[in-house]
């Protein structure tokens, strides 16, 4: 099933044209990595695909199904506990019980941290709380902006495994990363250097 079709997408930021003529078709089971140097427009393309950026985006983007976006900012309130942050997460579209959330936190190696305020956790731990959403969401297409930053080795392995499971369950993932081909033959690369204007 096709989850996303982008046809001849062009992106401008301010006065500067970043990309033009990007074609991307994502179906369930796909893992796409956006590749390119810093500033080439990976995040801008991801935001355009997700519908967060509309001004300065030309071309046709068709979305089917629900999406989950994980950006540089984790959308966590520092004065709320990890449990409350996930319980009241603004983008969650399913009803999660406290047990669901606690087991999601356990899955990202944060068992016992449920009631700690987010502000008291380290950057890597905050990142993992944000990643716990990957267990609590029913979205079919994941848009992950640099999901592997600030994660330790075990965390990266967990995330890779989780992404593989998601695509095996008819999901799809678009992510950005500077490390090449984490998923080997499973993944496809979209090199943005080819679309720079």
């Amino acid at each position: 099933m096709q989850l996303l079709a982008a046809n001849q997408v062009a992106i401008e930021r301010g006065e500067r044209r970043l990309l033009a003529g990007v074609d991307l078709s994502v179906s369930s089971g796909d893992i796409w990595q956006l590749v390119g140097a810093n500033g080439v427009g990976k995040t801008s393309l991801l935001r355009a695909v997700g519908g967060l950026a509309r001004l300065g985006v030309a071309g046709e983007i068709t979305r089917h199904g629900t999406m989950l976006y994980l950006g540089h900012h984790a959308a966590l309130k520092h004065n709320l506990s990890a449990l409350d942050n996930l319980r009241f997460h603004p983008a969650c579209d399913v009803i999660c019980s406290d047990e669901d959330i606690i087991s999601a936190l356990a899955a990202v190696a944060l068992a016992g941290y449920e009631d700690r305020p987010i502000g008291a956790l380290s950057a890597g731990q905050q990142r993992r709380v944000a990643l716990a959403r990957l267990v609590l969401s029913s979205a079919s297409l994941w848009l992950l902006d640099e999901p592997f930053t600030a994660l330790d080795v075990d965390g990266c392995a967990w995330l890779e495994e989780r992404i593989k499971q998601h695509v095996a369950a008819e999901g799809a993932v678009i992510f950005t990363s500077h490390q090449p081909s984490r998923f080997g033959e499973l993944q496809q690369n979209l090199d943005l250097a080819a679309y720079v204007v």
């Binding site: 009241f88 603004p90 983008a91 009803i95 356990a106």
Partner: protein
Amino acid sequence: MSYSKTSIWQPMSSEVASLSIWGAFARQFMRHCKSLVGSPADAINPLLFFFMVVTLFPLGLGPDPQRLAGMAPGILWVVALLSSLMVSAKLFASDYEDGSLEQLAMAPYPLAVLVMGEVAAHWIATGVLLALVSPVFATMLGLSSAALPTLVASLMLGTLSLTLIGAVGSALTVSIRRGGLLLSLLIIPLNVPVLIFGTTAVSEAVIDGNTVSWLALLGGLALGSLALLPLAIGAALRVSLDN
């Protein structure tokens, strides 16, 4: 500490219950309430500001009770307007910085409904609280006690409009660094009718005049804002996110 290897992905249940739009509204409301309980300064600062200004007026104007009582409706309402302006400038600032707004915009619900959950919590923590405490400040200025119910009612209705108007301004300026002055320029003209109706209602109550029609006007403004401004807030937030 280790990542669970075997049970990484257990679907929460075979058929996952999806959240209704009112559930999503209530969740945003609770999120903001909890956050306010976590850092109560956001709710207490406007009250402190109100208290400071009200104690300064007798020092500046002289202690003549007659004159203070005459000016009390205007003083109370102007200070209420300023304190609302002060807090609404920051309404969406932290949500913008920590990425919550992005997530709100990605949620499969109308943005206008979700942000209303937040605005409602903000209004209760600032506007309703201020209206309920205002009799104390009014008594400090010697406002006749017969006018107190009208003062509370007018502030209750008026701060709803002020909060909604402030939310539009905050949504428009949230992505601009130091947007505070721009925000004031944008929304003070829109706040003027609320101020006029509010002060007039309280002044009428002091002389035992016709308060109902002024309160009705305030109520009309509040309902009109409630009907139209959520759409404006949602649209303004989308524009602010778009850069």
